[in-house]
Structure formats: C-alpha cells, structure tokens
Amino acid sequence: MTRVDRQSWDVVVVGAGGAGLRAAIEAREQGLRCAVICKSLFGKAHTVMAEGGIAASMGNVNHNDNWQVHFRDTMRGGKFLNNWRMAELHAQEAPDRVWELETWGAVFDRTPDGRISQRNFGGHEYPRLAHVGDRTGLELIRTLQQKIVSLQQEDEREYGDYEARLKVFQECTVTRVLKDNRRVSGVFGYERESGRFFVIEAPAVVLATGGIGKSFKVTSNSWEYTGDGHALALLAGARLMNMEFVQFHPTGMVWPPSVKGILVTESVRGDGGVLRNSEGRRFMFDYVPDVFKEKYAESEAEGDRWYTDPDHNRRPPELLPRDEVARAINAEVKAGRGSPHGGVFLDVSTRMPAEMIKRKLPSMHHQFKELADVDITAEPMEVGPTCHYVMGGIEVDPDTAAASGVPGLFAAGEVAGGMHGSNRLGGNSLSDLLVFGRRAGLHAARYAAGFATGAAPAVADADVELAEAEALRPFGAEGGVPGEEEGAPENPYTLHQELQQAMGDLVGIIRRAPEMEEALHRLAGLRARARRAGVEGHRQFNPGWHLALDLRNMLLVSECVARAALERTESRGGHTRDDHPGMDRRWRRVNLVCRLADESAQQAVTDSALGLVRLERCETPPIRPDLMALFEKEELTKYLTDEELTS
C-alpha cells in the first residue's frame, strides 16, 4: 500500500464553480481554514458557460420588481414543487449577493443612471437579470477567483504564505467522502496530474460539484458534469430528491455533429429571436399551455410589440419557460417539420440589424461563425433541445444547506435539490450558486468551528485503504479480479457512450414507462460491465482511468433519474410522460427521494428490479400562508389540491 498524503483543514469544498468558490470565501471570512478541490484548473469551472445573467430583484430597470415577485416567478417556473423556503431565501438574498460582487470588482453592464443593468428572460415578469453581454458566468467566476486571490494576499501579508488559510487543490478528483460513524471526517481523492492519492481530514465538507449532464448524449455540459457530488452524497448516506427533473434547454446547436448540444443562449429569444419550423411558421403560438394562456401574446403582431412596449402587450410565446419550449421543438421535429439537421430554426437575422446582433450577442455570433460557418446576422440558426441542468439533487436543510442525515455534509448549487422544483428559470442558477454557496460556507464554518477544541471526527486507515482499492480497480481489471464475475475487460469510453445513448433515448425529454424499464435493464447490464472497465498505462494524467472512475457516479445518478422518472406518473416541468401527459395536483405534494440500497455494499446488482437505489415518497412541506397569499386563489387552484387550499 502506497503512502497516502494527509492534510488537515477545517472546511473542504468540493467543486470550484460559483457555489464552491462562494462557499470557500465565506468559510475563510469566518476565520476558518478552507481547502477547495476541483477537477479542472482554478477558474475553468462550468459556471463560465452561463451566458444570460444573474436573476436578482434589484428593480434597477423596472422599479415594480421586488423579492415577492421573484419568489412568485420562481414557484410558477418550478410548477410549485420548489422547496418554498429555499425559493424565499433565494429571492430575498439574491440582490445582496450581486451587489457584493461589485465590491469585489465585478463590472456589470450599466443602466443610463449608472446602476447594474437588468434584462428580460423567460419566466421572469420584469427585467431582472444582471449581466455582462452574454458572458455573465465568466464574469462571476473571475470575480470570485479574484476575490479568493485577494484573501490569499491578505493571508500572505499576515502569515507569509498565500495558502495559509485558503488553498485551491486544482485538477484533483474526490472519489469518497469519509466518515467517522455517522459524521463526516474528510475526503479521499487523487491528483489527476500524478495519480497520487490524498486524504484531506476535515469535519465539514461542502459539495458543490454541479450537475449530471454527461450521462446524456446531447448535452451542453462539459466532461466534469458526471454527477460526482450526487454520487458522493448518496454513497455517504445522504438522500437525493427530485432526480426525475432534468432540464432540457430548448436551444442547443444541432450541427455540426461535434458541437451538438452546445448552448445557444436564451438571450437570443429575449432580445427578439423567433422560432420557426421548416414551413416558416412561428409554431410556438400553437403550444401555449392553459396555465399560461392569459400571460402570453396570441398574435405575432402583439408579441412583436411587446419588445418595445411591455406594459401594454403580452410577451411572445418563444419566452415561455424552458420546458414548454423544449417540448414544442421536440414535437415539431417529430411531426416532420424540422430543419435539415433535426432541429428547428432560430432566427434573429430578419429581426435586428446586423450591427445590433453583433453588439448584443457577440459570443453567439462568434460561436456560430467559428464552429458552424453560420453567420447569424444573415441566416437562421438550427437549434434543438439539449440536456442542460438537473433540478434534482441532494436533500438539504433550506437555511443551512446541510445535507439531511449526514452531519458535516453540506451542498450548494446544482448538486443541491429543492430550490428549483420541477423546472429552473433562466438566470436563477447563478443567483442560486451565490445565495446557497454563501449559506453552505457559513454553516459549514460554524459547524467546523465547534470542533476547534479538538475531538474532530477521525479518518480510519481501513476506510482509506478501501477507497484506494476501489480507485485502483480499473488497473487490475485486465487480469480479472479473483472471485468476481468473468469476462473480458471493457473499454470505459465504450461504456460511457452506451450509457449516454441509453439515457438520451430512453429517459430523455419525452418519457414512457416501457422505455424507462428498458433503461433500468440496460443500466444493470452496464453496471456489471463497468466492474470490468480496464485501463492501460499508468496513473499520471490518464483520461481513460479518470473516466472509468467517473462511470460509477454516472451509473448511480442515472439509476436515480430513471427510477424516479418511472415512478412519477404525471408530467411536470422537466419531466414529461407521454403516457401521463397531464399535471396532477396530487403529485405536487410528493417528492421522490433516492437513497443507497445498502450503504455498506458495493457490488453491482445486475437485477434491474433491485438496483442500487431505493426510492421513497416524501410529502412536501406546506407553503407558509403569507407566501401563499402572494398568489391569486385562481392560480393556486391549478397547482394545489382542494384540501391544501382549504386548510
């Protein structure tokens, strides 16, 4: 057994995107020593891909906006499945989190009176998204990165060491959260560069690892999005909720094949872009659901007037919440009215002068020009749905972001569940990262401070050895592991492709019971084969090995998605059942929660009916009356059961 490097920190943050960095800043500002672990280089996290903006009801552009309106929009977008307390905290605290960024050096686009400019977005009643052109995520991540650097500079002045109290371990992967009895005691992981293992002992661990998109074939997510945090939490005994809700962004690139899935920002539609089918028809007018009928334009003329006169006209249906638009595009393509490469047309070229397109949507112009040879100022884009975001995630306490059932484990950002209900509004993600990133960092720090006098949970050598053996397995797979199932070694890349194919085809945007049963069956087969995933070469920067280890996480998370999706016999937000097309008010009261079948067992259960994941139905907490009062009774009757309304 090789010697494993061990270090002790107060708080460990896994993930260096918006939520992770915000949590780390908070923990450090509370005076604790904080380590951040990330798979990529510092500053490359997937947050940079966010384009549109940060939703916060600052009311800079329309002074009617306030947190109550934001709360209302968020609940409507999530079809009332949101954890109401999280939605409330989010709406209340988002403006402070944005303003704070300015004091750290962020430079947002401005209004004529010098405030932060805000733009329209799907599902938001007022212009609400603080933005920087269409690269808001980059601004966010860079600002947080530079804030961390400034804290390190302070520490350098005080202790002579930049990394005395805040250190980023970049290009490292965590494969296990370690525990001492029920409590978190640290993490186990490896350096991607050298393949060396390490243990960081810490009483508090914040998971901020983002999403699961890499389990799907067409996705806007990067290789990092393998559901690590979801799986780590599950394996540590925490629970995942609402995993059936996966957001398919309506507009991803569809051609050329190598860029299929890359995001086309919603701002294209927010700024005037329209969707057309192969017959040239603006088909979104045919897809306005009843719950939204009064809020969207009925004619093209009215929709067009809205851009300049939003007070007297209703918005065009291209700006419906993402789930509605994605389903509509899917239906058009299935009906044979799609574009040549299997999408629909998104056109700004006939809607705005070329100069304005280049100014308002610079990175879209650049992206299509460079990657698809399409000049969006002269011709329409081809777009189609792409897997973008998972609403489901770790079940957490809304106020403290503490994962339920595992003392010392916290979660924030996409990896945490509940905030967005069944569907996330655009712009609510970046604000979610900041609001709950800060809360997770704060409460992790408070929790860890309780161990200041010693008696912190200990890391057992046996657990480290188990984690090490698990991580080294792919190298031994070639020769066959004694006592294990027979068979030739499997190529991890092949397994990954098959997983993506299965999830994309069978648990994708439109779902049916038999297909999801088939998916569970295939997942069981893949699970068994993944045990034999073998790799060549050595541990130094070996991508095949990294993928083989990530497969465990993707398979676990995929099983949660498929199982929950099969169970929920209704359509709501990011979960659409062909065999149960309607939304059912009784299902609103139910959260589907996944936990590991047997926390100690690690064998691949090949029986698809059994699997590794157990599903439970939990009742959603009742919405506080004063928050209920923010809605019209008439609207509530669409979502809430009669008994909820009367009680």
């Binding site: 997937h46 300015e102 690269r135 400034s150 790799v535 095949g544």
Partner: protein, 256 residues
Amino acid sequence: MSYQARFKVWRGDADGGGLADFEVAVNEGEVVLDIIHRLQATAAPDLAVRWNCKAGKCGSCSAEINGRPRLMCMTRMSVFDPAETITVTPMRAFPVVRDLVTDVSYNYAKAREVPAFVPPAELGPGQYRMQQEDVGRIQEFRKCIECFLCQDTCHVVRDHEENKGAFAGPRFLMRVAELDMHPLDAADEAGVDRRRGAREDHGLGYCNITKCCSEVCPEHIKITDNALIPLKERVVDRSYDPLVWLGNKIRRRQGT
C-alpha cells in the same frame, strides 16, 4: 465527407518524448479537439489533454497546432488541406507535464502578485454608480478566458526562461491596466501605486509591443493597443515625464 488525416502529436513527459504519428478519421464540421478525443477513444487511450467546455469559453485546451498557439476546440479541421500533416504539441513556454498538458502555475503565481481591486471605503454594496462608457474599456479586458496563449507566445518568457521572475506577461499586465482604469478602484487611497507596480514589480518595460499576444488571443482582445500601450503611457505619466521628475527632485531636496 470523411477522410483519413495524418497527425503528429507530441507524447512524453518532463523526462523526454517526441512526435507520434497517427492516421485518424476526420468528419465534416470537426475541430482539432474532436480528433484528439478520437485518438483517446481508439489508438491512444492514455493520451493526456486538458479540456473542458469545448466551446471556446473556458480556455483549457490551449496547445500549439502547426507551431501556432491555438485553442484546440476553436480550430476547425476545414482550415487544413486534407493532404497536410497536422502537428499538435503542448504549449512550449511552460514546463510540460505529460503529452499535451503543461504546468501553467507560472500564471497563477503572477495572478497573485497583482494587488486586488480596492473597494472605495465610502461606498457600500448597492451604492456603486458607473457609466457604461466608463466600464466599456475594462469589460473588453474582462472577456479574457485565461487560456494563457498570450503568455505562451510572448517571446519575453517563451525564449527567456530567466525572465519569468521579473515579467508578469501580457495577461497580467492587462489585469493591472484593467484595475488602473476601473472607475471606482481606490488603490491610491490605500497606498497602492499600480503604475509604479506595473514598471517595477510586473516588468512592463520588458514588453516590446511586438503584438504576438494580440495575434493569438482567441477572444480577439486588443491586448497591446488597448491595455499594454495605454499602461505604458500611464507609466510615462508617472515615471518618465521630465516635469514630474524635476518636481520630485526639487521636493526631495527641500525635504532633506
């Protein structure tokens, strides 16, 4: 549409290595990074490469293609002749780790040496007022995705390892310029002299404005014209203006 392309990819580590030959399928619309991924999935499963967003937004997949610093995800195969042999090597200004992956920690060290934004003491969160025309200049610099291609191509450090200590490189001199142009940065009040710092701590004088940084920038930031030269001019204001110099001289004499 598809064809077999010839590739030479550098494989090795700090102890040595060389260009390895590959024949690999290329399909319509692909970029160099797609081909590297195809090599990983077929001929070379342990080929090390750093990448992330694959959309030119994160700046991870920097390398040198036919000798030119580029992002692999933004280099389309259609710009090459199908008969051409395409050479892909790691960035050559930084220590190599393995295959196409280099140790870019020089850049992170330099980032730390630039004093951070100093918030004005009199303004609280939410009280900042800045006009769009005042922030437009620095927003261009903040488009930077930190791919470090400018740092890689800059001959000051690429050709002279010994200059790495004294020279921050175009990316971080641009950062100094950004902060010096920030409408609300209160560095002066905090006793931080960014212009003196640019010259004395970050080696602005090493830059001989030969513009390779601007040439390779995938975000098309005009690093030299809009950041480095304006910064040089600001340093002239600060350090090379004979009137200012004379004034300081006289004042100093009076002081002693």
